[in-house]
């Protein structure tokens, strides 16, 4: 018979048994019993300033390390403040466990103080969730939560625990193995699907690897490289997959989608076979779905069977873990190639020609102000491919995906699916906690930064020396770009009127960080180097940049990828390309 302890002690022992080394949270009434054993636990608890910060920090930690991120909050507002990070983690398939306190079980349903039905609220935005009222159920719920969050298609799991269950006496019995009747992710792809996929690859003359975030989740980047080189087909990496395949690789055409490269977008459009690996045919990649890659057959490999055929019919569905799938595909493709290997020379020549004719680029502003793209490009070039880059959402995010060169997985973190402004600072904090020896740069907008910058206080107090580049254009830049293009330049409520309000340098100093300012192109390199040289404190750099810079190329929302524009009113010169 195991020793008697409180439900709270059982919770903390369960988290320890699950291998948790750090969690981000804020105590409050309903979760308070848990904070007493947390005080004595070997688990590092980082006291954030807002629960949203805890949630995104857990995500940043998970995306940087591959381990499950953990956040903890109290009932009611503490729990509802986790809603955005949970939805974010659900959209981007991030393994996360959120623990929330709930009002005592007798008070549930009475509109008690700080009561919110967080299980009901988060049902559509979690992979699974629990409401625990019996202390004996705590270890099993925690074990199951970590198992569900980290296996199959990863995702967030919320465990809501009533205060009386935390206070009551119970015994600790952590389950050794998990048996879930309704949860058996299929990790091994069927032999038939692998054979069919290999046969299709061997018949194709215009194949392209359409690689999504699943390649990073499955840690399959080495295998991906082998397969890509074996097939010799061009590779495109989506916003969630940047770093899954080196930008420097000859076969890489860059990112597809709304702000993708001409070569990557065109490769998908003109392809006869999409070798889709851990991607989900998101509308930001496909553009108008009915005109997307109309001549292509589709191999769709994904761990989640519900992604197959959701947006685009799959000629060959392959359900399984991507690492196992690619490992099985390599010998199957080799066997097919012994019979016949298609000649991809012409296809590659066309795509490489597009890549060299339409590289990503930008102009320095005529008014002498600093180009935001230049700042971001220099941060990447000076800091190098070993660092982790974390973006918010908007123009700066697109530029960070375009102008930083990614060579390794888990070096590019962003909110792709939900598009959460305010993601960068707390996610960078979580990433730095998970990878303390790695330089972590948050590349943020001035709009995004003002949503969650309070976590810089957390960073300063907890020795989490992240670096933040505020790409300050004094506006909500991406929305402003749409207003320029689609609303005749009527800039309704996108100007942040922020000339030094707030003063980000002073704000940085007030939060115990180093604040730097840069508003001249010739100072950009020196400022970045200075920021890189400070490793004992968080650094915030306020880069004042050109306000009217735009993200190009662009496929306008709802239009066909064939309508890609390389600048305002300017389409690629298709007639000069042999396609």
């Amino acid at each position: 018979m195991s020793k008697e302890m409180t439900g709270a002690a059982s919770l903390v022992k369960s988290l320890e048994a699950a291998g948790v080394d750090v969690m981000f949270g804020i105590p409050g009434g309903a979760i308070l019993p848990a904070y007493d054993p947390i005080f004595d636990s070997k688990i590092r608890h980082i006291l954030v300033r807002h629960e949203q910060g805890a949630g995104h920090a857990a995500t940043g930690y998970a995306q940087a390390t591959g381990r499950t991120g953990v956040c903890i909050a109290t009932s009611g507002p503490g729990a509802t403040n986790l809603v955005t990070p949970l939805a974010d983690a659900q959209m981007d398939s991030v393994p996360m466990v959120a623990i929330t306190g709930q009002v005592p079980s007798a008070a549930i349903g009475t509109d008690a103080f700080q009561e919110a039905d967080i299980r009901g609220v988060t049902m559509p935005i979690t992979k699974h969730n629990y409401l625990i009222t019996n202390p004996a159920d705590i270890p099993r719920a925690i074990a199951e939560a970590f198992y569900i969050a980290s296996t199959g298609r990863p995702g967030p799991v919320l465990v809501d625990i009533a205060k009386d269950a935390l206070q009551a006496m119970t015994t600790f019995d952590y389950p050794k193995n998990i048996q879930l009747a309704g949860y058996k992710p299929q990790t091994k792809p069927s032999d038939q699907s692998i054979r069919d996929a290999a046969a299709l690859i061997a018949q194709s003359s215009k194949p392209v690897f359409y690689v999504g975030g699943g390649a990073i989740k499955a840690n399959a980047h080495k295998e991906l490289m082998q397969l890509a080189e074996l097939v010799g087909a061009p590779v495109v990496t989506t916003l969630m997959a940047r770093g899954a395949f080196p930008d420097s690789h000859q076969l890489h055409l860059g990112m597809p989608g709304m702000h993708g490269t001409v070569a990557a977008v065109t490769a998908l459009q003109k392809s006869d076979l999409l070798i889709t690996l851990g991607a989900r045919f998101d509308d930001r990649v496909t553009g108008k779905l009915s005109s997307f890659a109309v001549h292509a057959k589709v191999i769709h490999a994904d761990i989640d069977p519900a992604e197959i055929g959701k947006n685009r019919f799959a000629d060959v569905p392959v359900v399984g873990d991507l690492m196992e799938t690619i490992k099985a595909l390599i010998p199957a493709v080799q066997a097919e190639f012994k019979k016949s290997k298609p000649d991809l020379t012409a296809w590659l020549r066309q795509m490489f020609s597009l890549r060299s004719t339409y590289p990503l680029g930008y102009n320095h502003p005529e008014d002498g102000s600093v180009s935001p793209q230049y700042v971001i490009e220099r941060i990447g070039a000076i800091t190098g491919p070993d660092a982790i880059y974390v973006a918010g959402v908007g123009q700066h995010q697109m530029w960070a995906s375009q102008f930083v060169r990614y060579e390794k997985p888990r070096t590019w973190l962003n909110s792709g699916g939900l598009g959460t402004m305010g993601y960068a600072v707390p996610a960078a904090m979580g990433a730095k906690v998970g990878a303390p020896d790695t330089t972590v740069w948050a590349i943020d907008g001035d709009g995004c930064f003002q949503m969650t910058n309070q976590e810089l206080t957390t960073c300063a107090l907890n020795n989490i020396p992240i670096k933040v580049a505020i790409i300050n254009n004094e506006s909500l830049g991406m929305v402003r770009q749409w207003q320029t293009m689609f609303y005749e330049g009527r800039y309704s409520n996108t100007s942040l009127h922020s000339k030094r309000i707030p003063d980000f340098v002073k704000l940085a100093e007030a939060m115990g960080c180093v604040g730097l300012r840069c508003d001249r192109t010739e100072d950009v390199d020196a400022t970045i180097k200075k920021a890189n040289s400070i490793n004992d404190q968080p650094v915030i750099v306020d880069f004042s940049v050109f306000r009217d810079a735009m993200v190009w190329p662009m496929v306008a929302a709802g239009t066909s990828n064939d309508e890609i524009m390389i600048a305002r009113g300017l389409a690629p010169d298709w007639d000069s390309q042999e396609l």
Binding site: A181, G182, Y183, I308
Partner: protein, 184 residues
């Protein structure tokens, strides 16, 4: 568009109906009817869901449903080899009592209450049968009616729960069967 009947075995746990309803709502799938009740195993409930949709959407519905952790098995009930039943309780005016009795007899329905100028009728059958009965009763003055959702069971020896139940209760192999089901 065609009608499909899904049998769904779910863990008998709090919130499971809300999870299924929430899934249908957020993915904009329309349900014609949903019936839920206990099974031979107290840990497992069975839902019968009737949907009107295109075939490829059905695959998507089944795959999305199966992602719910509390969903143990899903099967589309084959139209030809399945018994479909609905239950109807209907209260009609007793003014033309003889006519009511005649209709009840011809539809093999049952009178379960007769007082204060009303007759309450119970009927079970396939949807078409229930609809015909209601059509026949309408001119006589329907005061109130209630219908259950459709329930369905496959004919013959096949049993969805064979896959899910073992000596210990819930077995571990049914999930793959369910997966095979919706991939077909």
């Amino acid at each position: 568009m065609s009608q499909h009947t899904l049998a769904v075995l779910v863990e008998n746990s709090p919130g499971v109906l809300a999870r299924v309803a929430s899934l249908f709502s957020r993915r904009a799938y329309n349900i014609d009817s949903l019936a839920v009740g206990p099974t031979e195993d107290p840990n497992i409930s069975r839902m019968t869901i009737v949907l009107n949709l295109e075939g490829h959407v059905l695959d998507q519905v089944m795959a999305q449903l199966y992602k719910l952790v509390n969903v143990i098995a899903i099967s589309e009930m084959p139209a030809q080899s399945t018994v479909h039943r609905e239950l109807l309780l209907v209260k009609v005016s007793a003014q033309q009592s003889a006519k009511v009795h005649e209709i009840v007899e011809s539809f093999e329905a049952k009178i379960v209450d007769e007082q204060g100028g009303t007759i309450t009728i119970e009927a079970t059958g396939e949807t078409a049968h229930i609809e015909s009965l209601l059509q026949a009763l309408t001119p006589l003055g329907i005061k109130e009616l209630v219908q259950s959702g459709l329930v369905a069971l496959e004919r013959g020896e096949a049993a969805l729960s064979d896959r899910t139940l073992s000596a210990q209760g819930i077995s571990t192999t049914h999930a793959l069967n369910a997966q095979a089901d919706y991939q077909n």
